[in-house]
Amino acid sequence: MVEFKEYQLSNGLRLIFNEDKTTPIVAFNLLYDVGSKDEHENRTGFAHLFEHLMFGGSINIPSFDGPLQTVGGENNAFTSADMTNYYMTVPKNNIETAFWLESDRMLSLAFSEKSLEVQRQVVIEEFAQMYLNQPYGDVYLLLRPLAYKKHPYRWATIGKEIEHIETATMEEVKAFFKQHYFPGNAILSISGDLEFEEVKRLTEKWFGSIPSKKKEVRELPQEPLQTEERIMEVERNVPLNALYYAYHMPARVDEDYYAADLLSDVLSRGDSSRFNERLLKRTSFFAEINAYVTGDLENGLFIVSAKLADGVAYSAAEALIEKELQEIIETQVSEEELNKVKNKAESTFEFGKTSALNKAMGLAICALTKEPELFNNEFQLYKKVKSSDIQRVAKTILRKENRSKLIYKAKKG
């Protein structure tokens, strides 16, 4: 059990605090309820570019990193389709510096032209390094728009194309900040050896005077039901043929999410899983094969991905995968197999509670997903899943009409 206390400022900022007497550092996590799903389709990659700009100085403080490092702290951030999360660790006697820095950039950024120009370039290099200059790096850039036609999950967090980043203007940056960066759209989560009353006092002191703003109701276009299989074929300069299936599946808050997640675990988590044992080890058809869920807050994707061994025909590899999928639709998984994946889920949760930073981040993400208590009881939701649930979601999800298929061929040199 990770104990926590909650408090809300009158301007809407939510505070979650976990007292951890065992650690010399404090983890300070500020999550904003904004991700790439909130972007305009002609301005994709913006939430992430913005995350970079948050380090370019705020209204009263020219440098974010310097003052933090000067008191022995470190920080980083990430952006996903659903959230932008900023986190730092700081020695506990310097915790007030974290409040000072984080509250000032919520109040307002400096919006320096130089910062925009440089971070634009940095993000373009990130795009190149992670997506374009990696073998198979552009898979999600192709798969997302194939699987989603209306919902903003159809573009990757890095953006649809570099051009959107290249042409972003300062006005757009300012408008994005105004729309998404305010107390009511944020969750502050802290874990460390502090008193709750002191944490509350500091939160009021530094965040209390930031003007409140009404949180808009998010109205995202809903993805229409897919009714027939979609297939896309590309050729790239990679060594091995690859194959990707993307099926629509329930959102993380849906009851069936947990059955779907365990379904992917039965197929491919651990060396004794079905894909590993039956397809990777016992045949020579695959170099790699996996099944996993994207875990998005709204309806997400169930992915099957494979790299084919040299000289193996797509039809042969697909027949083997189909056979496994068919079996899990037709025959319930055994109690033993079900317990195995539940135990994996349990140990994963328990390892996730072993550091202050993991706890602070986990509580904030759970609060955004549903409620902070989810951090403690999410495993119970996995535990409740029955073999019949797995079979039922397998039947619903693993249908051809629900599938987008990407054939990613190696260019013959």
């Binding site: 022995g72 073998p135 080890k281 790299k307």
Partner: protein, 425 residues
Amino acid sequence: MIDRSIAPKQNAIEKIEFTKAQTHVFASGIKCHSVVQEDCKVVKIEIEFDAGSKFQKKPLVAAMVNTLLLEGSANYSAFEIASFFDNEGAFLDSSCSADKASVVLHCLERSIPKLLPYLKELLTSVTFPKEEVAKYLELSLQNLQVSQQKVDWVARNEFMQALLGKTHPYSWKIEKEQYNSVTREDLISFYEKQYTSSSFEIYASGKVTNEVLLAIEQVFDQTLHAPKNPDAFSEEIENTSKELSIISLDGSIQSAIRLGALTINRKHADFPALFVANTILGGYFGSRLMSNIREDKGYTYGIGSGVLHLNQLSYFIISTEVGSEVTSSTLKEIELEMNKLQAEPVLEEELKLVKNYLLGNIMKGFDGSFSAMGRFKMLHHHDLGYDYYENLIAEIKAMDAEKIQDVAKRYLDYSQLTKIIAGKL
């Protein structure tokens, strides 16, 4: 109204509490080191052997033996073994570096009595089944083809050989053809020499209760075999290349850059100053290389430098991936920053920042039992005690600009660096 332009009081980091490991010597003579964390339900147990790649006589052998340890035993197939661990929700991994090789178990504390006997079985009745060896080679070869298209992998693969020459035990380089030359006999002979005839040590962290310790002691009740003296190996450095080598990768839009040189180890009197100097140059997010090459020029997503320590030698390294068209401009900027560190004393403000950053970073290294064990392992591998940190902290606090400039002149000289570029220049 608060004045937000004024920073809150900056408190000095006075005292850093080290969460120390305890060493238990079992009746068998085996050493087990532990760091206990009460408020969790999980345990990490690592069994570590002197079986890194520096001991191998043929390429790939050390890593193959290490991986194949987990692939079945005399009494159980690879699938059965995987099932035992998977059923308990445990994670079993192997890892192999230049010096050491280990098997690592992450699991719930309650699974320990069930899983330890299997762990021992894996380490003591190894058979290297033919089909598993063949499967390993088949999959590795396919994965290698993917790696060979990654510029950072290619640069890394070249680097040690360029630094140490072709025959040094630390300079193994992976090539496709090597996969045909490894035989099952090579594996068995390496296993017998490095795993059964040399000593091993156990590192346990997390919820290491007395029961857990007792279970470890009961299972590892004797050394697998009596340790013998390991082979001496050549440490001679044939030749170090200072020329710039370029490995061209067709169609690459980025280049990976690796620059480095041999340097002093952690016991050297100059090391604390070099540690601080390296941090200023490229050792943290606000470093000069990051500030200049990422935050000012936007040439890269990231650039860093570090001093890495192997058992027999230490080296300084800079690595980054940059847009192909700015590869040579990046090299110029790196040279400029290194020259600046030699030519000009560090200003007080920057030095203060770096000192505090490092103290905070050392403190963070003791957050939780898993991190604290990582710190202990580092000390133990290099035959150091916790006084190393006490001394390092005192030295960091007392560091001045003059010392930093002095070590920069002696150890951070751009013209002395081995230079590898994978991609385009």
